[in-house]
């Protein structure tokens, strides 16, 4: 009950904040860029030679566009922003005198960030599915048929993306919460992407490195069902999330204003 109340307080806080603008406008801008690119370079996005159903090509290219860099970067920024909201306003001293255990404040913030990410990704999918209807106005012949929309593939991508992002969210949120800095978690995030790229090039399957998970979800298999390797990395991702969640609970209870 206290957790639900704390989450509702977090939801009020993020109203009109940079976090919400990033989640909504940011997603809209990314989808718009893809739509504009599809308008000028339709062959790349609608590759009918590789995929008999153009939707497969359209969805895969969208995910290829975000999973490598944009999504991990977005996750790092939303985690850092949610904590920066308290750092910038110096509101830790307001939060820490509320009759709420500190670990619940940590959980409420983490769950809110996770929820915002899930909602913004749903928004991304909605825009992804809606964009062809607008693009059709500019194309000569009917390209997309909504009756062929592969709902199963969309759901599969959605679940895999969410699960594979949990590890990054858990880790970066933990760093943001305890570092008291906006820049430090961003720097860790950038270092994470670079390392993920290097590791992906070198070994192709860095199953222990959470920053590589979104990209692995794309490179290992872009079909409807997850194979064993995908299950494993998504399981690791959730375990990373739970591990840092437990760490956050432990350390946040010991946090005082001396460090804030």
């Amino acid at each position: 009950m206290v957790l639900i109340r704390s989450i509702s307080a977090e939801i009020i806080k993020v109203r009109r904040s940079g976090l919400i603008w990033l989640a909504t406008l940011g997603t809209l801008i990314v989808n718009s860029i893809f739509a504009i690119l599809a308008l000028y370079y339709p062959d790349i996005f609608i590759d009918s030679s590789q995929y008999p159903n153009v939707w497969y090509s359209w969805i895969t290219f969208h995910y290829q566009g975000i999973l490598g860099l944009l999504l991990p970067m977005y996750l790092v920024i939303i985690c850092a922003l949610s904590i920066n909201l308290e750092n910038r306003n110096e509101t830790w001293r307001l939060l820490y005198v509320q009759p709420v255990p500190k670990y619940l404040l940590y959980l409420a913030k983490l769950f809110t960030v996770t929820w915002i990410f899930i909602m913004s990704h749903l928004f991304f999918l909605l825009l992804l599915a809606a964009a062809p209807a607008i693009l059709q106005v500019f194309w000569d012949k009917p390209t997309f048929h909504y009756k062929d929309l592969p709902i199963g593939l969309l759901i599969s991508y959605f679940i895999r993306t969410i699960l594979s992002s949990f590890g990054i969210i858990g880790l970066v949120f933990f760093i943001s919460f305890f570092s008291r800095s906006f820049i430090f978690p961003l720097a860790c995030g950038i270092l994470g992407f670079v390392l993920a790229s290097v590791l992906l090039d070198a070994s192709g399957y860095p199953a222990w490195f959470p920053f590589a998970y979104p990209a692995l979800n794309l490179s290992l298999k872009d079909q409807l069902f997850m194979d064993e390797k995908l299950w494993m990395i998504n399981l690791y991702s959730v375990l990373y999330y739970l591990f840092f969640l437990a760490g956050g609970i432990y350390f946040s209870e010991r946090d005082t204003l001396r460090t804030r």
Binding site: R5, I12, K13, S17, N89, L94, Q98, P99, T256, L257
Partner: protein
């Protein structure tokens, strides 16, 4: 009953650098307890320790007889309302939204927001964004946030900071009203004249040490030295009488400053008149809390 009891408290931000040293005092129920000291004397740090926002290095803090270290903090914050250092809020949200956040944490109805804003004198600011408020208004909002759950104990750090004279009077009256409602208030300030007007008990801090702790009345009774300035003619005759009576005195331009107890003044004046000394002027000057603060070491 004692709300807070602080025993031999010491605290340091860095090793080998004692910021607060051996502080002891107690705060009784239904009193306004003042925490006096210049900027950097350790008032805010002491209040943070009392609130459990930081942990003490040495010593003990008891809240109604129970060590703070053993107290469930969530329970403590149900009983106390806190305003530390300055009023802090989410600048992009309105006054209402900011207080609504606190009602969520505290499980209080929204209708309390308008009530408490009225108490704090800012009922017309409900829909104003917090970052558009003046310093004084932010301070009132901080008071409203501390009062929203109607706590028994209020811990207020410099509540009159940034307020105009009218605002200071309003907050002073509010503090007195809260005391009359049976609440216990711990108020810190560096404005000594302000504290003199509202406090029952106080502690005076200087460089992290307590230089006085006790009731304000005792301080006034024992340490509020009064100087009596007498202008009389002929002066030489008056000096002669003071010398024979063994009354200490010193010169201040044309006047003579006499150091005697307040109650003995009428007798002295009678003696002077009996010796045909014309008394031109008698002036009492009372040392303020500010004078005392400067003289305390």
């Amino acid at each position: 009953m004692q709300a807070f009891e602080i025993k031999n408290l010491s605290f340091s931000y860095r090793k080998n650098d004692r910021f607060l040293q051996d502080i002891s005092f107690s705060v009784d129920d239904n009193q306004i307890f003042g925490l006096l000291g210049h900027n950097g004397s350790g008032k805010s740090t002491l209040l943070k320790l009392i609130c459990g926002l930081m942990y003490v290095d040495y010593g003990e803090i008891n809240f109604y007889g129970i060590p703070l270290a053993k107290y469930a903090m969530a329970d403590l914050y149900q009983k106390i309302g806190v305003l530390i250092e300055k009023s802090v809020f989410y600048g992009h949200l309105t006054v209402f939204e900011n207080l609504n956040i606190i009602t969520r944490y505290r499980h209080i109805g929204k209708n309390r927001i308008t009530e408490v804003l009225e108490e704090a004198g800012m009922k017309n600011y409900l829909n104003v964004r917090a970052n558009q408020l003046s310093t004084g208004m932010k301070q009132r909002m901080g008071m409203a946030a501390a009062l929203i759950h109607d706590p028994k104990i209020l811990i207020l750090d410099e509540p009159t900071n940034g307020l105009d004279p009218e605002g200071i009077i309003e907050i002073r009256n509010l503090l007195r009203y809260l005391k009359s409602e049976g609440k216990t208030l711990i108020v810190s300030s560096h404005i000594l004249s302000e504290m003199e007007k509202i406090c029952d008990q106080l502690i005076i801090l200087k460089n992290g040490r307590s230089v006085y702790s006790g009731s304000l009345m005792d301080l006034i009774r024992n340490r509020h030295e009064k100087e009596i300035k007498i202008s009389a003619t002929p002066r030489s005759k008056m000096i002669e009488i003071l010398t024979t009576e063994g009354i200490p005195f010193r010169f201040d331009n044309d006047n003579i400053l006499v150091d005697i107890e307040h109650t003995k003044v009428p007798d002295l004046l009678k003696k002077l008149l009996n010796k045909n000394i014309r008394i031109d002027n008698v002036n009492f000057s009372v040392k303020t809390l500010e004078d005392l603060y400067i003289s305390l070491n």
